[in-house]
């Protein structure tokens, strides 16, 4: 974890509401692991006051390149769209734990929805390089909202689910969860409802799964106890864990929905 002044290489709209921010941040790029995130602000002011958590979508330690894909939602992300080439931005990162990839893993399923897709791309790449066979299911509102689909295709087979049916299956990503394949691991990031469903389906098929959670954050680095989720300990006790420090990736089974 460190605070780095990154230089903006590019910042452009790629989908309705989705933007892509390319940064030169060599120190963070050197350390970041798939699934980790950063705290980001574009404001030189006390409003917005808090930094925004953003997953890392591309990590290139060699060139120091880092990419974020962000959904424009409220004030903080709106300000991000004002960044132009060569401007500077403070990043705190890399933060949190990362997707766990086990040596024994041969085949994995990645399920992404909404802005959660972004943090799964470096995982797909990692799995690919580790010779894990990867299936990817991406869910979105419509074709226009599918992001990174082409890039995922470099690392595995990709299928889509869109609510309006404009691309792939018409419906939810979880509707096309492959019942017949014995994955070694399922990785999911997306809306809470989707992840809960994925955990449920995986449990049914006795496949382990990992999910990346979101919660409003004060600090992003573990000091404020703001970003907790309920986790069931092996002894059955439910405890609160910090998403920013103990997560954002949790074993699906331990999350108490």
């Amino acid at each position: 974890m460190l605070l780095e002044k990154a230089t903006v290489l590019s910042n452009k709209q790629i989908r309705p509401d989705y933007w892509q921010l390319g940064l030169h941040a060599p120190q963070i790029a050197a350390q970041a692991q798939p699934g980790q995130f950063m705290m980001v602000t574009a404001a030189d002011s006390y409003d917005p006051f808090l930094k925004r958590p953003m997953g890392i979508n591309i990590i290139d330690p060699k060139s120091g390149f880092i990419r974020i894909i962000y959904l424009v939602l409220g004030r903080g992300t709106k300000l991000l769209t004002k960044l132009r080439e060569n401007m500077e931005i403070d990043l705190l990162g890399p933060l949190g734990n990362s997707w766990k990839v086990e040596e024994s893993c041969r085949r994995a399923l990645i399920m992404g929805g909404g802005s959660g897709v972004a943090t799964l791309l470096p995982l797909a790449r990692e799995l690919f390089y580790r010779r894990v066979k990867v299936d990817v299911i991406l869910g979105a509102r419509s074709k226009d909202y599918l992001s990174c689909a082409d890039e995922f295709a470099d690392y595995g087979s990709v299928i889509y689910a869109t609510i309006d049916g404009s691309a792939g299956y018409k419906g939810l990503a979880t509707d096309i969860y492959p019942d017949d394949i014995r994955y070694d691991m399922v990785y999911a990031c997306g809306p809470m409802k989707m992840m809960e469903k994925v955990v449920h389906l995986s449990r049914k098929h006795q496949i382990r799964c990992q999910v990346s959670l979101e919660e409003n954050m004060g600090c992003g680095y573990g000091v404020c106890m703001g970003c907790i989720c309920s986790v069931r300990e092996p002894d059955g006790h439910v405890v609160y864990k910090r998403i920013c420090k103990d997560g954002p990736v949790f074993n699906g089974e331990e999350v108490f929905w």
């Binding site: 974890m1 006390y46 409003n216 600090c219 989720c229 405890v239």
Partner: protein, 303 residues
């Protein structure tokens, strides 16, 4: 170069900057960003007798110039703090202040007794002002009589310096400060958070699961500064000021208003390096302004 050392209320500080309770955990995470020994002190997360889960999420919501939190004193309990956190904190050359909070009045006495002989504690900060717990917390800090009673309990249970942390959610903070001074407090710290709320208009319910939360950050700085100013005129024990301090200029305002030292809280969310940055800028400002000893500016604002 300005002499930043301070000594008051039986507390020795290498400089006037402490990190505020609940915004620096037990120091472990900040230690990854800078050497904790640069700090005047560190006030650990509000510690209770038993472990506490705190309130359900969501616990944090941003507001204009600040944030609301409803953490509700999540902590591992005093025994774990003594066993697991104190040894870590003792490694650093900084004043460790343990912030204590109770459900009932007697909890404060038990906490003070338990912590009295633990090595490496510079002072106890008695939190009678947490707006995020149902029993105790702020309810204790808004009535002079209760505030005084808890102060006396703690004072009698420990030989450590006793700092009483005051709530801003009162009509007259000077009155509460006087009550705890009379009850034996060595020092007061203020302010804790102002009670606030925010509503999710789509869901038509309060955004925070706890309904209300505590407001902190620069938004409330003018209120905090006014309260320090009023308290300085009400009591003669030293004051540790806080509430929205985000830069060295803010800190100087608090000291000029009467604070002997200051804490930074939410600033560390806006800028994780707020502590070292403020210390550097503070030193530079004092040097440029020919201040020989930091204590020379305490309460120096005149009207």
């Amino acid at each position: 170069m300005v002499d930043l050392r301070l000594q008051f209320a039986g507390i020795q500080l290498k400089n006037p900057l402490l990190t505020a309770s609940g915004t620096c955990g037990y120091g472990r995470e900040l230690a990854q960003l800078f050497d904790l020994s640069i700090l005047g002190g560190i006030c650990v997360k509000g510690t209770t007798l038993e472990p506490r889960l705190g309130n359900p999420p969501p616990r944090i919501m941003e507001t204009a110039g600040g944030l609301l939190n409803s953490v509700g004193l999540q902590n591992p309990g005093v025994e774990k703090v003594i066993e697991e956190e104190m040894p870590f904190l003792r490694q650093f050359d900084t004043a460790v202040v343990v912030n204590i909070a109770g459900h009932q009045e007697d909890d404060y006495r038990l906490l003070a007794e338990r912590l009295d002989s633990v090595p490496g504690i510079a002072a106890l900060e008695v939190n009678i002002s947490c707006p995020n717990v149902k029993n105790g917390g702020m309810a204790f800090g808004t009535q002079p009589a209760t505030a005084a009673r808890i102060t006396t309990l703690v004072r009698q249970a420990t030989s450590l310096p006793v700092i009483v942390k005051l709530s801003p959610n009162v009509t007259d903070i000077g009155e509460i400060a006087k009550a705890v001074e009379a009850a034996g407090a060595d020092c007061v710290s203020l302010i804790n958070t102002l009670m606030g709320m925010t509503i999710d208009i789509e869901k038509r319910r309060p955004f925070l699961a706890n309904i209300t939360g505590g407001l902190s950050g620069p938004a409330l700085k003018p209120v905090a500064l006014r309260m320090v100013w009023q308290t300085y005129r009400a009591v003669s024990i030293p004051i540790i000021g806080m509430g929205g301090i985000c830069n060295a200029m803010d800190a100087i305002e608090f000291m000029l208003a009467g604070a002997s030292a200051f804490q930074i809280g939410a600033a560390a969310f806006h800028n994780p390096l707020a502590a070292p940055d403020i210390l550097a800028d503070l030193t530079q400002w004092l040097d440029t302004h020919g201040v020989a000893k930091i204590s020379d500016i305490i309460g120096e604002a005149q009207c």
